[in-house]
């Protein structure tokens, strides 16, 4: 390679070659100038191209890109409103919101997530499952997104974490809310519970998309879910490329959920629950307006467990039990009403004029229909009984005869007027309607209706499937003559709901004389010698209770057993008959209606009536000062 040598030409020689040098220099210069101008032109053209590109992007497509830029930076987020509370009739909170103190971990604020968790573990022990979940969440989310380490911290745990804060980089404590049921299992069947929404709960409410949101799954929580839930607020945020919130641009507060006041009295409910055993259900209604004052079904469950998620083991335990704690037997348990049904048959017979109050039917201890013999519970017979006596002593033969005269459909019609086998608009989703058979119902099953069937149905046996709630409603309607509906809601957001005054409910249109006769008979059941529940009179000072016993077989008693001198108390417990009692009090001015079913309680008078008496005593004790009369529309504010 040869490099040009640079040296200053000597003066003399320079003059000598000057002409040639000059000519050559001019040629080079003209070539260069041409080329330089070409290059300059080319570069100018490319500048023009850049200018065109900018114009194209910023002017022609400017609006499109402006939209895209806005989409980039804006992010709307929902704000979850506080869920409304559920209050009992005394204003006690039975479903509220508890502050939920949570320990969160922000991965970007610690050098070593593992080390922080290890330190945390020494302060507040974490299970391996929890730790694995935290580590998984940290991996899955952006490093500035907080991950829940532990929820429901106690004060002590929080204090320990705060004290050790310097050793816990990335851990911060945050407060959210969670549903709290202070009365736990006492009101679980009524208030219900909340759980994270499932796919089928998605009703288009954007609120349900929020993480941590809960929807009512049962009871009042479910029935009034829309009211309790409130409406979502929204906040428009500016976010950066990785989704970190830079600032809040706009905020629209949501509407908090409204409080719902229910008619149940928590203290009464607790007293009643203290009296009953597994398999027993008790309903107490305000007979004048249908308010449910207490509704107990044993066993129950703790609804708070649903907050943090129900473990598979817990679920198995609940569902595998024979006693089915998750099921509210007062609305979902189905029983034959037995003798508690006899008032309906009596009223149907009187209204249909197939008998008179004075007609006496002879009870020899049995009733023969063709070849079939139907027994009275009293094998010795009651002799001649009129309507009042038949109810008082619960004579079966009288009602066999009445049923035979009436036919099943007239009995069913009267049953429905008393709220049996029809939908009761109680605010407890899933409430069973029950079954009151008719001829058509049976024929729809492809079976003929036999006269023998009618006879059996006269004493509340057979195909009947009724809930304790509906029996309580029947009793309330008997007591007041008004078609009261059972309900739980007293007010929503401080505004009373309709139905709290007796006048809100229409009269049933049953002959007053007939009704008085039946009521008097029920009074006699409890208060007259020979009544089946004479032992269960109310203690003095409370007025008198009227009621009716019922005992329903769960297994057929065969003729052999009967002849061998059958005794129920020798049977295994699950074969013993159910014990029922329905009652209202005071007799002269009915305020409360009660229905009691003791599963396998053997006899209505022995097991159910005394319990009903105790319950009624509790009710009177509870409301002695301020009877839960019709609520005047006083409109609580707030």
């Amino acid at each position: 390679m040869k490099w040009p040598r640079w040296r200053r030409p000597k003066k003399g020689i320079e003059n000598f070659t000057m002409r040639g040098v000059k000519r050559e220099e001019e040629r080079r210069r003209s070539v260069f100038t041409r080329r330089a101008l070409l290059l300059a032109g080319g570069q100018l053209g490319l500048f023009g191209f850049l200018g065109y590109r900018l114009w194209h992007l910023q002017m022609e497509q400017g609006e499109r890109y402006a939209t895209l830029a806005e989409e980039n930076r804006l992010s709307a987020r929902l704000l979850s409103p506080p869920r409304g509370r559920v209050l009992d009739r005394t204003g006690r909170v039975v479903a509220g919101n508890r502050l939920n103190w949570r320990a969160l971990l922000v991965a970007e604020q610690t050098q070593d997530v593992g080390a922080t968790l290890e330190t945390f573990h020494r302060i507040v022990p974490l299970t391996d499952i929890e730790r694995a979940r935290v580590e998984r969440d940290v991996r899955r989310r952006r490093r500035f997104v907080p991950v829940i380490v532990r929820e429901f911290l106690t004060w002590e745990e929080m204090a320990r974490i705060e004290v050790n804060a310097p050793d816990l980089p990335g851990i911060l404590i945050d407060v959210g809310t969670t549903r709290l049921y202070p009365e736990g299992e006492h009101l679980a069947h009524i208030v219900g519970y909340v759980a994270p929404p499932a796919e089928r709960d998605m009703d288009g409410d954007p609120l349900l998309q929020l993480p941590g949101i809960r929807v009512g799954r049962a009871g009042i929580e479910r029935h009034h879910d829309q009211v309790l839930r409130g409406r979502a607020g929204a906040v428009q945020l500016e976010v950066n490329a990785v989704g970190r919130v830079i600032r809040e641009l706009d905020r629209r507060e949501g509407v908090p959920g409204q409080d719902v006041e229910i008619s149940v009295d928590t203290e009464l409910q607790k007293q009643i629950r203290g009296r009953i055993e597994e398999g027993t259900s008790v309903v107490v209604l305000n007979a004048r307006n249908g308010e449910v004052l207490a509704m107990a079904s044993q066993p129950s469950f703790d609804p708070n467990i649903f907050n943090s998620g129900v473990s598979a083991a817990q679920w198995r335990q609940w569902t595998s039990q024979r006693a089915t704690p998750l099921i509210n037997k007062t609305t979902n348990g189905l029983y034959a009403p037995g003798s508690t049904f006899k008032m309906v048959v009596a009223l149907a017979a009187l209204e249909a004029r197939v008998t008179t109050p004075f007609e006496r039917i002879n009870c020899p201890g049995h009733f023969d229909l063709g070849d079939t013999r139907f027994h009275c519970w009293n094998r010795n017979g009651h002799g001649g009984v009129d309507c009042r006596t038949a109810l008082k002593v619960s004579c079966d033969v009288y009602f066999y005869e009445m049923a035979k005269r009436l036919g099943i459909n007239r009995i069913a019609a009267m049953s429905r007027r008393f709220g049996l086998g029809v939908d009761l608009d109680i605010e407890l989703p899933g409430t069973r309607r029950g079954l009151v058979p008719t001829r058509e119902w049976r024929e729809a099953q492809g079976r003929p209706w036999a006269l023998g069937d009618t006879v059996v149905h006269g004493i509340g046996q057979g195909f009947y499937q009724l809930t304790p709630l509906s029996l309580a409603v029947m009793t309330a309607r008997l007591a007041t003559g008004r078609a009261v509906q059972p309900h739980l809601t007293r007010s929503i957001g401080g505004r009373p709901v309709r139905g709290s005054r007796p006048e809100d409910w229409p009269a049933m249109g049953i002959n007053d004389r007939d009704l008085r006769l039946v009521r008097e008979s029920m009074w006699a059941v409890v208060n007259e010698p020979g009544g089946t529940a004479l032992a269960s009179r109310l203690p003095g000072g409370f007025g008198q209770m009227a009621g009716k016993t019922g005992t329903t077989q769960v297994r057929r008693v065969s003729r052999e057993q009967r002849e061998r001198g059958f005794r129920v108390d020798t049977l295994p417990r699950e074969w013993r008959p159910h014990a029922l009692f329905v009652a209202y009090a005071p007799h002269d001015n009915p305020l409360y209606a009660v229905s009691v079913i003791v599963e396998h309680g053997t006899s209505g008078s022995g097991a159910a009536a005394p319990l009903a008496r105790d319950v009624m005593t509790d009710v009177f004790n509870r409301f002695r000062q301020s009877p839960p009369g019709p609520r005047v529309a006083e409109g609580r504010v707030g």
Binding site: P4, R28, Y65, R73
Partner: protein
């Protein structure tokens, strides 16, 4: 006639001698223009730093101040010394490229940097200036006939190909292509015949598949995402898409200083370096972008003016080479951020954050000013 020549020479000498005369000769308007460009950079980096000079802008100003002094020092040295130093500089530049290949810092999958304590040097940037010097020196004395001789063109071709190959191997496809284009421009300005370019370009097209086969994955990804950026909106196409969104959303007047959402919310990648122009265009709109482009064009125009005014071939070629070098930076960078060519890590010198590009660019402008100051310097005559 001879007296006028003599007088001219005397004038030349007078002009070339004495530090104050030289200072007087420095094109201060051009220096002012460079300050304006750097000022644009300061504004952009102030915004890129989140509305504070701390992150980038302060350093930028400091660095520019240092570079201006260095540029003036370079400018005062006689142009003929640079012509003589060119071979030595070339050897040194190649040495640095080899060194970076052996001991360089790896950045973004390529060895490009040499860590010199406070300063990181990218030898490929410096090499472009050196290549311009070297080629200018080579063609300086060549007569038109000699340039027409293919044998005469073989050595400079090799001079171009050695650095191009070394830079390509780093691997830095963009800079190696730019270096090759720069060499081509020098050949063109020196008067090499059109058909010879046609042969080289034809050969390059023929070799393209071979080159593609040797590309790294990320380089191929750049080409494929350029062809269809929407195909991978969150991956390799992200930069192009976000840059176009930022540019486009700027509109005519822009979102206002410090108001660019794409830049400030980090949707725009590398906003302080490669995508600084996008940042400007987002905040100052088409008007601002065209103004900046105009300023940059003036710099290039000045280079061409120097080239046309120079009385010696070395100065002419040097000026046109340096101008083209700066032009290539501008064009490749702006074309890249507007999604017109595949993305390659090419900064916008004097505006982008980064010392290496500014340093080498200012060295180049030092040489350019030297060529202006010594535009009438006497070299030996052309050889035939």
């Amino acid at each position: 006639m001879s007296s006028t020549l003599f007088e001219k020479r005397l004038l030349t000498r007078d002009r070339g001698s004495g530090i104050f005369q030289k200072l007087w000769q420095i094109p201060w308007l051009f220096v002012l223009l460079l300050c304006a460009v750097a000022g644009v950079g300061y504004v952009a980096l102030y915004s890129a730093g989140g509305g504070s000079p701390e992150a980038y802008a302060g350093k930028h100003a400091l660095r520019f101040g240092f570079c201006v002094v260095m540029m003036l020092c370079i400018a005062l040295v006689d142009i003929r010394i640079y012509a003589r130093l060119a071979p030595l500089a070339y050897v040194g530049g190649i040495g640095l490229l080899v060194l970076v290949a052996l001991h360089g810092e790896v950045g973004k999958g390529a060895q490009r940097w040499i860590d010199l304590g406070p300063l990181q040097l990218q030898p490929s940037e410096l090499m472009k200036i050196i290549l311009v010097m070297t080629l200018a020196a080579w063609f300086h004395r060549a007569s038109v006939e000699r340039v027409g001789n293919p044998l005469f063109l073989i050595p400079p071709t090799i001079l171009v190909l050695i650095p191009v190959a070394l830079i390509f191997k780093q691997p830095n496809l963009g800079t190696s292509l730019i270096t090759a284009a720069l060499g081509g421009a020098m050949f063109f300005a020196a008067g090499v015949r059109w058909w010879k370019f046609a042969i080289v370009v034809g050969g390059a097209v023929a070799a393209a598949p071979l080159v593609y086969a040797n590309l790294r994955d990320y380089q191929r990804a750049r080409i494929t995402t350029f062809l269809d950026p929407e195909s991978d909106p969150l991956g390799a196409g992200y930069n192009i898409i976000q840059s176009k969104i930022a540019l486009g959303s700027g509109g005519l007047w822009g979102k206002g200083f410090l108001q660019g959402t794409q830049g400030h919310l980090n949707f725009l990648p590398e906003k302080q370096t490669d995508f600084i122009f996008t940042m400007l265009a987002e905040e100052f709109g088409l008007v601002g972008a065209l103004t900046v482009l105009g300023l940059l064009m003036l710099v290039v125009v000045f280079c061409f003016l120097v080239a046309l005014r120079c009385r010696h071939q070395f100065g002419r070629l040097l000026a046109i080479g340096l101008g083209t070098n700066y032009f290539l930076y501008i064009f490749v960078n702006v074309a890249m951020v507007t999604g017109s060519i595949p993305v390659g890590g090419v900064p916008l010198p004097l505006i982008s954050h980064g010392g290496s590009a500014m340093l080498t660019t200012m060295i180049g402008f030092g040489l350019l000013i030297s060529a202006w100051v010594h535009r009438d310097a006497e070299f030996g005559p052309a050889r035939d």
